[in-house]
Symmetry: C2
DNA sequence: CTGAAAGCGCTAACAT
DNA sequence: ATGTTAGCGCTTTCAG
């Protein structure tokens, strides 16, 4: 049996290229980094040698001196299976990737799933692999992990997705950038529409508002509008799943048989609610008008009837997060850099962007 | 207005830790890397200083000397929106991540979407950011990109997902590792089950078998079984979508009203086929028995009737890919390291694993 | 068990 | 326009 040859394939270095093309390392470095002050003829020669040798710059060496990597981490806490199957996340990520690509930066995606992952990801972020990080779905406790410590102490530029949900005892970190959809404003849009339709008994199915910011904000938007009308508040809490939406709708119908409209805080839950309504013999929108939230077309366009819902430009949210991060990289001390003010939320201080929403009318309301 | 202070937050270095703890850099390095030959007392002191200072090793510097990063890239070509919403990919990735985590390696996910992405990802892979790569969904043309060149020339350990689909003129690269599900064997299982049920006119709805290996292999499995029975081959090609499955089923019914069973090459298509069957008044399984492929429980358990289908252990496939890669990293010259032989496919040479399948009986056949 | 010194591959002054 | 030099932060002989 032949012994495995363990010789590492020696990769060509700057020095190899320099020797081969008869110039100095500096010159090669210059052509690689596109500096002007090199003769065209030399540029050609060096380029040729580079491709002959299959030379690729060692980013570790480069980072060591420039302190840059041109890579940005996108970190997502992945609660069970959910995140990946989520079209929302798909779009968000696409926006982030595209915007980063525009600036020549590579997005690298990391997942947080098991407890051990936190330390490893923290070391990764702290190890200089990336110039900054965009973080999602971090539950309150998450931020107190090594992760938050690393980001804070190392001054790693970071942007958070979603409004930070603070609880008692949480340190307020005012410089923290974040971007979020206008959940509260969007909910208002939805409920105002229902009011304008002449509906008087408007219920709502919410997400888990003690865990999710988005759920709390959407509920707040519902209350904003109804507070003024003096209408009763008919709220049922669910869990952002289809089945949860169906069950909540059933509970609502039992408690308030006379309701004539419902704002359901996500399209997925709304599709469940629609099913319950159908089973109970309620016509939509004649008997009960329904408005969803998210505008996931794969759902909203295929329900029966098609769903009127609140749209957010998710890809744009992603782009914004990337832009915010890029801006932060230039001011790593986290000095104030307010980009825009949220139209509605009482958000914590710090550079932040709230992305507006709009209502998409289909047939359900 | 206060001027933005652009001072980079100076990160503590090995040297800082050494000075603070009154030992040499070597010693600090030793405690970090868990070497035995350091006094316990010193270890403690150094550890304390490390956490006080919030020191995190610079991986760039480390990589420069060790040639290791403890990171593995997972590269996925993302054709339009599809991949991300795919539960299959979700599971696969989970397997990869978990196996890598077991070995202390960080999985970093990169996407290939637009043409420009290839060069950037190639530079990333070639730049020493990772110890190896696991690549998916690369269509034939993809492999001839910079990407394949980088991997080949730099001898970057790599494992491919799915059997490489070679076309005329493609260079054969025998050393290439790959792992795939046993598509052909699984299809055989499905069709044999139908035969055992006493069905005589067994049709099939296939995936795009001129583009997808999996589709071609599943069709081959169907033919394998039917060749022996002398039964007619009733095949209709579709595109792995639900609607495609529904349409193909309709076409099949038009052409062969007497068919009494159908093997549909994916659960998603099968759910479409089931709908067509229902609309046409065919009872399942009494009139037409249906078998799917994939065993995506979110689909197979919720169809009416629940779907009998071919199961693959997707997470295990992911783990296998990771293990194969880890094995390759020790033999970067790509020397033969056959781990297992495919039970059925005429796969190209190289270390490869074909993951077995099994039939899951529910109600549709 | 610990320290000194060399060097990984690159960029950034500083010369020329 | 190009070359020389000095590190960046780490691991790794080699001494002691």
């Amino acid at each position: 049996m032949v012994l495995t040859q363990r010789s590492h394939v020696r990769r060509p270095t700057l020095e190899d290229v320099a020797r081969q093309s008869g110039v100095s390392k500096s010159t090669v470095s210059r052509v690689i980094n596109g500096e002007a002050r090199v003769r065209a003829e030399v540029v050609d020669r060096v380029r040729r040698v580079i491709s002959e040798l299959g030379y690729v710059p060692n980013q570790g060496a480069r980072q060591l001196v420039t302190h840059r990597t041109n890579a940005v981490a996108v970190v997502a806490a992945q609660p069970e299976n959910r995140l990946f199957i989520d079209p929302f996340f798909d779009l968000l990520l696409r926006g982030i990737r595209r915007e980063l690509a525009l600036h020549g930066a590579q997005a690298v995606l990391l997942f947080l799933e098991e407890p051990d992952d936190y330390a490893r990801v923290a070391d990764y972020l702290g190890g200089g692999h990336v110039d900054g990080a965009i973080l999602f779905s971090l539950r309150p406790g998450d931020r107190h992990d090594r992760l938050a410590e690393i980001i804070d102490r190392l001054g790693l530029p970071a942007v958070f997705g979603g409004r930070p949900l603070l609880r008692d005892g949480d340190p307020v970190r005012p410089g923290q950038a974040h971007v979020d959809g206008d959940n509260r404003g969007g909910a208002r849009l939805a409920v105002q529409h229902l009011v304008a339709l002449g509906r008087r008994r408007i219920a709502t199915v919410t997400g888990p508002y003690d865990q999710e910011n988005s759920a709390a904000d959407r509920l707040a938007g519902y209350r904003d509008v109804l507070r003024d009308t003096g209408a009763p508040h008919l709220v049922e809490r669910a869990d952002y799943t289809r089945q949860g939406g169906a069950d909540a709708m059933a509970a609502l119908l039992d408690r308030h048989p006379g309701l004539d409209a419902v704002f359901v805080a996500s399209d997925l839950m709304a599709s469940g609610a629609l099913q319950t309504l159908r089973e109970r013999g309620r016509r939509v929108p004649e008997d009960v008008a329904v408005v969803g939230f998210d505008d996931l077309t794969s759902i909203a366009e295929t329900t029966d009837p098609p769903l009127t819902t609140v749209h957010q430009d998710i890809e744009e949210m992603g782009r914004l997060m990337a832009r915010l991060l890029l801006a932060r990289e230039d001011t790593p001390d986290g000095s104030p850099q307010r980009t825009s003010d949220g139209p509605s939320d009482g958000a914590p201080d710090g550079p932040s962007v709230i992305v507006p929403t709009r209502l998409v009318r289909r047939a359900s309301a």
